[in-house]
């Protein structure tokens, strides 16, 4: 849906999300006095740059979480909307920290970048989305409440 041309023509969700994330990532890097600049989806530091493409922008874990919330049966729509907003905030916040961390690693500890990028941070995002979804399922599981 995100890539569907008729949606992209009206509202480019991916670009909006990336721009917003990069704005906050810049804020974190500025806070630690690390010089940086943004051009489109590219975040440049003095000697390195990272591109925020699909898979790095956190939309993947958001889609997973959103699909889980919407697919899980027997939940009121108001509760679902609340959890969608909560999930978006939590996962986007964590992803912003992740991006800032990866930009820092790429600048100062380059040999570690590939490993941390491909294995550690991406996996953490998926697991956190799963953990949040498990929390959601347990919180809203009416069948268990009625048994107890």
């Amino acid at each position: 849906m995100l890539d569907a041309p008729f949606i992209e023509r009206h509202i480019d969700i991916e670009s909006l999300h990336v721009s917003m994330s990069l704005f906050f990532v810049q804020g974190i890097l500025d806070f630690f006095l690390i010089p940086n600049s943004v051009s489109g989806i590219i975040l440049s530091l003095p000697t390195s740059a990272i591109g925020i493409v699909f898979g790095c922008n956190g939309l993947e874990s958001l889609i997973l979480f959103f699909s889980g919330i919407l697919a899980y049966p027997g939940i009121e729509w108001r509760t679902r909307l609340y959890w969608l907003a909560l999930g978006y905030s939590v996962l986007t916040f964590i992803n912003i920290i992740r991006l800032a961390f990866l930009a820092w690693v790429n600048e100062f500890y380059k040999p570690w970048f590939d490993f941390l990028h491909a294995y550690v941070t991406e996996s953490m995002m998926i697991f956190l989305a799963l953990l949040l979804f498990i929390y959601y399922m347990k919180k809203n599981d009416h069948s268990q409440k009625s048994v107890s």
């Binding site: 997973l64 991406e122 953990l131």
Partner: protein, 209 residues
């Protein structure tokens, strides 16, 4: 410690511990696993399209595979003479595919350890599913490259052994993209939900009854 009474935090700590162990072990096998998958897929493609495999090897920098295949028969479109098609230098970063193996294994192990209920049958069934997905992904990825270098070649066309397996190149590209962008990335999450459902839910329901 009160903070450790939070089961989600404990689950997270269990996951981090299991993940660190899994990744250390997995890094020792990763290259062999990738080599095995790519080699098998190349041989399946070779058998399917009548190509001879010359070489399938991981490059010295271990970031790409050097695949060399040669067609047994192909026709030159201009003068209809028999010739051969040579496919060489297919580059791939192996890390992009196998990243989901340690995370999926860790999620399964972490939930099983956390709830102290090890379901061997489920573990092996799901591990097999991940391996099959890797095979399928590599297959469609290689197929796309293969099409680019054979059927899209304006001067030549290969003589197929059988057209039974022939897949439209757009379909192959779409499946490859869908697998890379979605299936490979969503798979650990779905496996996690399934394992949690099978183990935690069953345990909690039995506790209540």
């Amino acid at each position: 410690m009160t903070i450790l009474k939070n089961q989600y935090l404990r689950l997270f700590i269990t996951f981090v511990t299991v993940y660190m162990c899994t990744i250390i072990v997995w890094k020792q096998f990763d290259n062999y696993y990738q080599r095995g998958v790519v080699n098998t897929v190349c041989h399946i493609l070779g058998w399917q399209y009548d190509f001879e495999i010359i070489n399938v090897n991981l490059n010295s920098n271990e970031k790409a595979f050097d695949v060399q295949m040669i067609s047994k028969f192909a026709l030159e479109k201009r003068n209809k003479e028999k010739t051969r098609i040579n496919i060489r230098n297919y580059v791939w970063q192996p890390i992009a595919v196998s990243f989901n193996m340690p995370i999926s294994l860790s999620i399964m192990l972490c939930i099983m350890i956390f709830y102290k209920q090890f379901n061997y049958k489920l573990f092996f069934k799901l591990s097999l599913l991940i391996v099959s997905l890797h095979f399928l992904f590599f297959y469609f990825h290689m197929l796309q490259i293969f099409y680019k270098m054979t059927f899209n070649n304006v001067a030549l066309y290969p003589i197929l052994k059988s057209e039974f397996f022939f897949l439209d190149k757009n379909t192959a590209a779409y499946i490859r993209l869908f697998m890379e962008k979605y299936v490979m990335r969503f798979e650990p999450f779905l496996i996690g939900v399934l394992v949690w459902w099978q183990i935690a839910k069953v345990k909690e329901t039995s506790k209540m009854s």
